[in-house]
Structures are given as structure tokens and as C-alpha cells.
């Protein structure tokens, strides 16, 4: 199998008034065509930055180092303009918050047809027809009326379906879904996830599903990458991960899976303590201050990312169930 996207020693930092903020640190990640990979981690662990920076959608305050190869092309060497040619058609993204990711003063129709006209060279009429198909495909009940509406007239769930329609409009090879359901009601969450899974099959897309919820990952992905403080701390096939969890952090995350009786957007904080300050990297394991199993060694020395024979990766001196 060939890697569709391959990150090598990829880091992102922001220059802030408080000093350099290291949001993503030395990530190596390779995703094959057709795979569905989950990125899991609590709020602030760098998931959004990682996915946006992979696409190249970063503000000017961000510095990215390392390489991103898409279909064998090193994107970091491309000019802004050449990179743009990959957006929409090569890679596309479903954003985290449907309330802020649609332009409030433009009609839904024009927001969907825009990419089709500009990127695929469709005529206005063709694009309109395709947009209506897309709206129908993401199960918007009245596509014709919805085309004329403004985002403010629609519910969060409908907006997210529209954001999905925009993302898949130019049939991208790789779809980033950045917590596509976090801002939605529980019942809508399941529907949107199901829709994404269907579309992935239908359009033969590779998907990177970002979430803070291991429960979502379980049903949707082939492989899981767990992030903590900007680093990959564990990676394995989904099956392997749930069967043979290595990281104390992943275990803690698992215990914080939200249950059905909870409100949307409500975040659990089962893991006590907070993420380390990303402007002040600590010498030892980033999770040490919160880890139940931490020793002096953990506090003074960085654990390396270990890869087992089965391909399971983890970053811990004292993995759960021992090193096997």
C-alpha cells in the first residue's frame, strides 16, 4: 500500500507574547489510501493545529518544520498558489464548529457552488445542480429552499451537514474531520458520524477523524493515534489499541468517554490536572505530573516512542501490561 499522506518530524510552533508555543512536536505519521485514522486527545493537545497545519492552513504566526508529503509531493516546498491546488480537490476539511465555519452573510447555495465553479470549472447551472445533489446526499430535507437560506436560519446539525457537503463537493482524496460532532446534540452526533462513514465508502475517501472521544474512534476508524501535549503518545490499529492499551494517558481517556445521557459539548474532566504549558517544555514525560504511575525517571527523562513487533507505538517507560 502507498502512503497518501506522510508527515516526517513535523512540528508547529506559534510565536506568542509569552514566547514560542509548541503546539505540535515531532510527529511522524503515515496514512495509506483508503484508511480511516482517528486522532484522539483532550482539548488543547494539538489535534486541530496538526490537521490544519498538515493542509497548510496556518496563520502567519505559525512556523511549521519537518515535511508533509501528499502523494509523494513535499507540500512544504510548494508555493502558496501551488498548494492551493491541493485544497478542495486533494484534501478538504470539516471544521470543528459549524456555528462559525459558514459565512453568515452569504447564502448556503453560493457557499457550496463556489468551490465547484472555481476549482472544477463548472458553469453556474451545473454547479447549482451539483450543489442540490450534494445537499440531498447529506440528507438536507429541502435542498432547493436551503440553497437560498443563510446559515443563521439553520440548526447546528444542518450547518454541519452543509459544511460536510462543501468539504466533499470536489471529491477530495483525503478528508479531515476535525471534531465534526463535538458541537452537536447527542442524537445528531450519531447521524453525522454515520453520514461521514457512508460518504467515505461512497467517495472512496481517506479520512482523518479528529476527536477527543475514544468512543467515537472505536466505531469509525481502522487506526488510532493518541496525542498528548503536541506529541504522538500512542498509535495502533483500533482493535489492538482497545485490546492492548499501553499508555496510562490513553487509559485515562478511555475512562472519560462521555455517556449518552450527557449534554452535547459538555466535557468530562476525569483526568485530574491540566495539560502542561506549551510555552515551557518540561524535561521529562509530558504526562508525568498527572500520571498515576509516574516515577522520578519519568520526571527527568523523555520516554522515546517505542514500536513493537506488531507495529503498536507508545511513549512510556512503564507501559500498561508490560513491554510486549
Amino acid at each position: 500500500m502507498t502512503a497518501l499522506i506522510k508527515l516526517t518530524d513535523f512540528s508547529v510552533s506559534f510565536s506568542t507574547p509569552r514566547g514560542d508555543l509548541h503546539a505540535v512536536r515531532g510527529v511522524d505519521l503515515s496514512i495509506n489510501k483508503g484508511e480511516s485514522v482517528g486522532i484522539v486527545g483532550e482539548s488543547g493537545s494539538g489535534k486541530t493545529v496538526l490537521s490544519r497545519a498538515t493542509m497548510g492552513l496556518m496563520p502567519s504566526t505559525a512556523t511549521c518544520t519537518g515535511s508533509v508529503e501528499f502523494n509523494g509531493v513535499d507540500l512544504s516546498r510548494l508555493s502558496r498558489k501551488d498548494l492551493r491546488n491541493y485544497w478542495g480537490t486533494g484534501m478538504a476539511m470539516v471544521f470543528q464548529d459549524p456555528m462559525t465555519s459558514l459565512n453568515p452573510v452569504r447564502r448556503i447555495g453560493s457557499q457550496i457552488t463556489e468551490g465547484l465553479i472555481v476549482r472544477l470549472g463548472m458553469s453556474k447551472e451545473q454547479a447549482r445542480g451539483r450543489a442540490i445533489e450534494l445537499l440531498d446526499r447529506v440528507r438536507i430535507s429541502d435542498p432547493f429552499a436551503t440553497m437560498k437560506k443563510y446559515p443563521g436560519e439553520l440548526s447546528g446539525g444542518m450547518r454541519q451537514r452543509i459544511v460536510i457537503a462543501i468539504a466533499i463537493a470536489c471529491t477530495p482524496e483525503l478528508l479531515f474531520a476535525d471534531e465534526p460532532t463535538t458541537a452537536l446534540d447527542v442524537t445528531v452526533q450519531a447521524q453525522v458520524l454515520e453520514l461521514l462513514a457512508e460518504l467515505r465508502q461512497e467517495f472512496n475517501m481517506t479520512m482523518l477523524l479528529v476527536t477527543h472521544d475514544l468512543g467515537v474512534v472505536a466505531g469509525q476508524t481502522d487506526r488510532v493515534v493518541v496525542m498528548y501535549a503536541g506529541q504522538i503518545v500512542e498509535a495502533a490499529t483500533t482493535k489492538e489499541l482497545f485490546k492492548n492499551m499501553k499508555m496510562p494517558y490513553t487509559e485515562a481517556l478511555l475512562k472519560s468517554i462521555p455517556r449518552l445521557d450527557q449534554q452535547a459539548g459538555q466535557r468530562l474532566k476525569v483526568i485530574t490536572g491540566r495539560l502542561p504549558d506549551p510555552t515551557k517544555p518540561e524535561p521529562g514525560c509530558a504526562f508525568a505530573p498527572r500520571c498515576l504511575y509516574a516515577t522520578d525517571k519519568c520526571r527527568s527523562e523523555q520516554p522515546p516512542l517505542v514500536t513493537t513487533q506488531t507495529g503498536h507505538q507508545y511513549r512510556c517507560f512503564f507501559p500498561l501490561g508490560g513491554a510486549n
Binding site: 490544519r52 493542509m55 492552513l57 496563520p59 492551493r84 491546488n85 491541493y86 485544497w87 478542495g88 480537490t89 478538504a92 476539511m93 471544521f95 470543528q96 464548529d97 462559525t100 465555519s101 459558514l102 459565512n103 453568515p104 452573510v105 452569504r106 463556489e114 468551490g115 472555481v118 476549482r119 443563510y150 443563521g152 436560519e153 459544511v163 462543501i166 463537493a169 470536489c170
Partner: protein, 319 residues
């Protein structure tokens, strides 16, 4: 459905205008009564006691507030703006003084927007560059000079020294369009500097803030060009704020225009107001205030309604 809703909205707004006008004029009529001393004496110091009493009676000053207010208001509602104490009707003066003032305000607004929009867009797009800093420093320095100062400088420099356009005066449109605009050039430039500066800064900061919005990143992620994103996605939401601010500045602009008229000797409402104050023409003064207040409120209302059409976000708020 939508039509009915908008119609209702417009009617409500107009009703509000009528109410505010009623309140404002009542306030003015009380204010005039509260002036120290005997108004009848101020109007005509040589009048006998009997004459003054009859003048007070005519003005309704010997009745209670409401009656005298009504005595003053009811002719105005019929379009009768009263007489000058020293002779002549007020209405023809208003009719000839309103157009120059309105022209001044509209031209200024148009010039200010025409200059500020491209400047604001470019500064936002080139934020932090030499161009951006040059524009903001220049506008800031110009803005810090008071209106009448700029007016006098322009009048002397461009009008007298260079002699390109007349330093002061006014030409009616009917007397030649070119001449009309030549007369208007300096006062409009003078008045426009402050709004150009504030609109440019507003649009710039508004656009920079909008560029950080998620929906702009999403637009980017569709692979659109920067120019397209700037004009299609950033400008529209930002320009709504600009329009609102332009609308709100109408009131200030009226005030500015009234002063500038006096400097450039334009026979508009400002000049007439100054004359009326100097000549103690209280009846005319009250009528002028009504006119100015009416225009002020109408401007704000019209723009308010327009914004409702342009900004779908406000439309929902009323729904």
C-alpha cells in the same frame, strides 16, 4: 410573508421616529420658554407692555406648556413654519437652505466611502507593511487637525493661492453642474477627512478580525484565491459594520456641515441657524431645529432599514 414582516418593521421604525420627533420638539419648545428673561422683550425691546403681552399671547407663552407646544406644533404640521419677527416667511428660507446642506452631507459621505473603502481593503490586505503604516499615520495626523482648521488651510492654499477652485461661496446645480462641484470641492474635502480616517481604520481592523474567522479559513480550504476570499468572504461582513458606522456618523456630519457652511459661506441650514441666533429669531430657530432633527432621525432610520436588508443576521433577529 417576508414582505409583510419588513413592512411592519418599517412602519414600526417610522412610528418610533414620529415619537422621538414629538419628544424632541416638545423639549425645544420648553427650552425656549425657559430662556432667562422675557422672550417678548428680547424679540422686540422697544415694544410697549401691551404689545409685549399680545406677542406673548400670540406665541402661547401665557398658556401652559402643552397648549403653547400645540400652538407652535400645529401650524408646522400643516407646513407653516411661521414668520420672521422682522418680516417674511420662514418656509422659503428653509426650502433654499436645505439643499446645500444635504448636498454637502451626501457628497462628503460618498467621497469618504469612495476613498476609505479601497484604502481600508488595501491596508488590511497589506497589514504591517510600509504602505499600511504610511496610510494610518497620514490619516491619523490629518484627523487630529480640527475641521475648521483644515477648511481654512484648504481655502487659502487651494482656493486663494492656487486659484483652481473658488475659495468660498456656493453655486446651485441649476446654475451649472461644473461650477456647483467646483464650489463644493473644498468644503467636501474638509468634511470628508475625519470620516475617511475613521472609516479606513474601522474597515481595516474589521477585515483583519474577519480574516481570522473560521469561515474564512474554510473558504481558504476550498482552494480559492486570496483576492476572491478578500472580496467575497471578508469584505461583505466587514462592510456591514462600516455601513452602520457611516450611518451613525450622519448626525455628526450634520453638525460638521453646519459649521463648515459658515467658513465657506454656503447659504445652507448652518448659515441660517447662525443668522437666526444672531438676530434672535426664535420662531425661525425653533423651525430650523425641527428640520435638522427630522433629517437626523430620517437618515438614521433609513440606514437602519437598509442594513436590515443587507445583513441577514439582523433579519433573523427580528424574525
Amino acid at each position: 410573508m417576508l414582505r409583510m414582516k419588513t413592512l411592519k418593521l418599517i412602519l414600526i421604525r417610522l412610528g418610533q421616529v414620529a415619537l422621538v420627533l414629538l419628544g424632541a420638539t416638545f423639549f425645544v419648545s420648553i427650552l425656549v420658554r425657559q430662556l432667562p428673561g422675557d422672550i417678548a422683550y428680547m424679540i422686540n425691546p422697544t415694544a410697549t407692555a401691551a404689545e409685549r403681552a399680545s406677542l406673548r399671547h400670540e406665541l402661547g407663552l401665557d398658556r401652559n406648556y402643552f397648549v403653547s407646544y400645540w400652538m407652535w406644533l400645529s401650524p408646522i404640521l400643516r407646513g407653516d413654519f411661521g414668520f420672521f419677527i422682522f418680516g417674511g416667511k420662514v418656509l422659503p428660507v428653509i426650502k433654499s437652505a436645505v439643499p446645500p446642506t444635504l448636498q454637502l452631507i451626501f457628497y462628503t459621505q460618498i467621497v469618504a466611502l469612495a476613498v476609505a473603502i479601497p484604502l481600508g481593503i488595501t491596508s488590511a490586505y497589506k497589514q504591517g507593511t510600509r504602505f499600511d503604516r504610511f496610510i494610518s499615520t497620514t490619516l491619523f495626523s490629518l484627523h487630529s487637525i480640527p475641521n475648521f482648521g483644515i477648511g481654512l488651510i484648504l481655502s487659502v492654499l487651494v482656493g486663494v493661492k492656487l486659484g483652481i477652485v473658488p475659495p468660498s461661496g456656493y453655486g446651485r446645480i441649476s446654475d451649472g453642474l461644473l461650477q456647483h462641484f467646483k464650489f463644493m470641492l473644498l468644503p467636501v474635502m474638509t468634511l470628508a477627512i475625519a470620516p475617511i480616517s475613521s472609516y479606513t481604520r474601522l474597515l481595516r481592523s474589521e477585515m483583519i478580525a474577519t480574516m481570522r474567522e473560521d469561515f474564512v479559513t474554510l473558504a481558504k480550504s476550498k482552494g480559492l484565491s486570496n483576492v476572491r476570499i478578500l472580496f467575497r468572504h471578508v469584505l461583505r461582513p466587514s462592510s456591514i459594520t462600516l455601513m452602520t458606522s457611516a450611518a451613525l456618523s450622519m448626525g455628526g456630519l450634520i453638525g460638521g456641515a453646519l459649521v463648515i457652511e459658515i467658513i465657506f459661506v454656503i447659504p445652507g441650514m448652518g448659515t441660517q441657524l447662525a443668522k437666526a441666533i444672531g438676530a434672535r429669531e426664535f420662531i425661525a430657530l425653533q423651525s430650523y431645529v425641527v428640520i435638522v432633527a427630522t433629517f437626523y432621525l430620517l437618515f438614521n432610520t433609513i440606514v437602519d432599514i437598509l442594513i436590515t436588508f443587507v445583513d441577514p443576521r439582523t433579519r433573523n433577529r427580528h424574525a
